[in-house]
Symmetry: C2
Subunit: 383 residues, 2 copies
């Protein structure tokens, strides 16, 4: 079946410079090279378990993380015309403040260079349509641990000089105190001013106690933290932004939420109901005024959702929450969720999302085209 333009807005890389940095580290996150076999990436504190031999700790990190040609093959295999690559978690959150700025610049320049070289090779005169060739764009990373927000703001402004950067990716910790931190004001203002899309992505999950303690969490491998912790982290982060009135203060802010908003579309009604019934917000004398704009309004004007939700149930909620199909964008989460069996070329995680989109909009070709690539091309000005 011939597909319309397909743009992947959720696809991660570790540029070689970032890999080198992780290799030089001995605390999470770090990369360990075993005596034989693939390097291991230890990304979560829970993976850095001294009872596991170091050569088996974490997860194998193959070339799909850092070799852009592997990404390009994956794109061809799955009919993806264009990818908006972003640094995978945990980005630069953990860096020593003094090093943050230089690493952000170095990695963002790497991303820009990778996109520029690739796109030039497929279209030297830069005048072909996107459909049918493999193009790359990027979400940049920010030096969030820098000693002053000015450094972050300056990097956002500098990114405007890099033509393939179309937004920034960020985790939920912000400057270390979450995204309702007032000190983030200048960052939100700079994103509004530059009209960069903010791709909000989880990394920290929930404390093990949420799942019944470390014993319970471990019993089921990565399932509870990844399947439930990640989506909740995103939902909590954006709810805190709402409650602290970030969207009232920065009404032009445009955010793309990973994994279809974590679970924001499903819980939006309950969030709205709980806010309405919260005495602190109802009584004007409360010490925290409630948000002026409702979660439904914010979902329609400030928020985009990727379509990485693996089923029609989630997609239908995402469409209903945004009141239409123009705020939803296809993604893969590559290189995570790889094929289940060695040698398989088709990724079931990707085909599941393709099928969910087809099933959700059965027969509505315009809606399918919007979600697969039209929305991303329009919002990120890719053409």
């Amino acid at each position: 079946m011939s597909r319309p333009l397909v743009v992947d807005v959720h696809t991660h890389v570790y540029p070689p410079s970032y890999m080198a940095m992780l290799r030089a580290r001995k605390t999470v996150p770090y990369i360990h090279d075993p005596a034989s076999g693939e390097p291991r990436l230890i990304i979560l504190s829970s993976d850095d378990d001294p009872s596991i031999p170091i050569d088996e700790r974490g997860r194998p990190v193959d070339t799909s993380y850092s070799d852009i040609n592997v990404k390009l093959s994956f794109m061809k295999q799955h009919g993806i015309d264009s990818s908006v690559i972003s640094l995978a978690n945990p980005w630069l959150d953990f860096l020593d403040p003094a090093e943050a700025q230089q690493w952000a610049e170095r990695i963002n320049n790497d991303l820009e260079e990778t996109c520029a070289q690739n796109n030039k090779s497929t279209d030297p005169d830069n005048n072909l349509p996107l459909k049918g060739r493999s193009t790359l764009f990027a979400f940049a990373t920010l030096p969030l641990s820098a000693p002053s927000p000015d450094i972050i703001v300056n990097e956002i402004k500098r990114l405007k000089t890099l033509p393939h950067i179309r937004g920034v990716i960020m985790g939920t910790s912000g400057l270390g105190n979450g995204l309702d931190d007032e000190k983030l004001g200048p960052v939100w203002a700079a994103l509004e001013e530059t009209q960069f899309l903010l791709f909000l992505h989880p990394h920290y999950g929930l404390p093990d106690e949420a799942f019944g303690g470390p014993e319970v969490t471990k019993r089921y491998g990565h399932v509870l933290p990844l399947a439930l912790g990640f989506p909740l982290e995103t939902t909590i982060a954006v709810t805190r932004m709402l409650l602290s009135r970030v969207f009232d203060k920065f009404p032009q802010l445009q955010i793309l939420l990973a994994h279809s908003g974590g679970t924001l579309p499903f819980l939006a009604g309950r969030i709205e109901s709980c806010i309405m019934h919260e005495r602190k917000f109802v009584e004007n004398g409360g010490d925290v005024p409630g948000p002026q704009r409702s979660i439904w309004e914010v979902l329609k004007t400030n928020i985009f959702l990727d379509a990485v939700v693996y089923g029609t149930a989630g997609l239908k909620a995402a469409v209903a929450a945004g009141e239409g199909t123009d705020r939803l964008m296809f993604g893969t989460d590559h290189p995570f969720f790889p094929p289940l069996n060695e040698g398989e070329k088709e990724w079931i995680s990707v085909t599941t999302n393709y099928k969910a989109i087809d099933a959700t909009f059965e027969g509505e070709q315009e809606a399918v085209a919007a979600v697969l690539g039209g929305n991303a091309a329009r919002v990120l000005k890719l053409e």
Copy 2:
């Protein structure tokens, strides 16, 4: 507008005997009678804040909690024909083991008596249809802290002799170690055998650290714990049941999940994907075999959802997850989420859910009738 039969499956009571027990306590949960004004219910540890004067701690608990006539007025006001009342959280979870059995029996007998007296008064010969009169049925409570599961099993069997009891309500802590506890096996078996519906309801939420710590949580009143903690608690609990293969071992178990499953419908696709990709489950040599039946199959055969989700986004996900409208049941969460302004008779929390049902199934009268009451009447054998 004339509605079809309306059954409320999510509506709580504190029978007078339970209120008396809470009044006699000095630790959470307890009821405090201030010098003037309504009694205060201190139900969450976070509400029992010594920096708040005791007369202002917790929330006011008016007669809507314990006077069944207030519930009956609420039902008439909102066009509800029948209510399946259940003890509100935290049920009997906190009781001294030696006291659990007698309190469960006493409270369940109270519930039975309340339903029997009321229904007899509206239909002395017990032969009228449900539609148009106010009937009551109940979900019973279990002595989960009892010193032996036999006591719980015996109470489940005894409940079969109480004609208005149509199921049991339970929190997520089970015997204290969650619902994936192997010791719960006899309880699941007894529920299967008696064909009682299990109404699974949250109470414990998430640890404050999930929201950024106690300071952050408090900043927004009850919004984060109630809007996000409660739904996640339910979702985590049922996912742990799935992962520990409760539904493979007890395939006839029938569970009604509060708040449309917390957020299970939305996250089901991601849960399924994470299970498929979990090495422990993929490699058969893992120490925990994965579930045999997928979350989608369990959603279609073991799980019912209430329709207490305050919007079409959540409802559409719930319908898609169950592959139809026959597993979804109207509820109100009365007496929680009361009117916003004093003197208001119409509860916006209830009308929001009515409107969401109408909007989700625009024009499909059969689907609306199924969700509003038909499903509950069939599953709980109310007619």
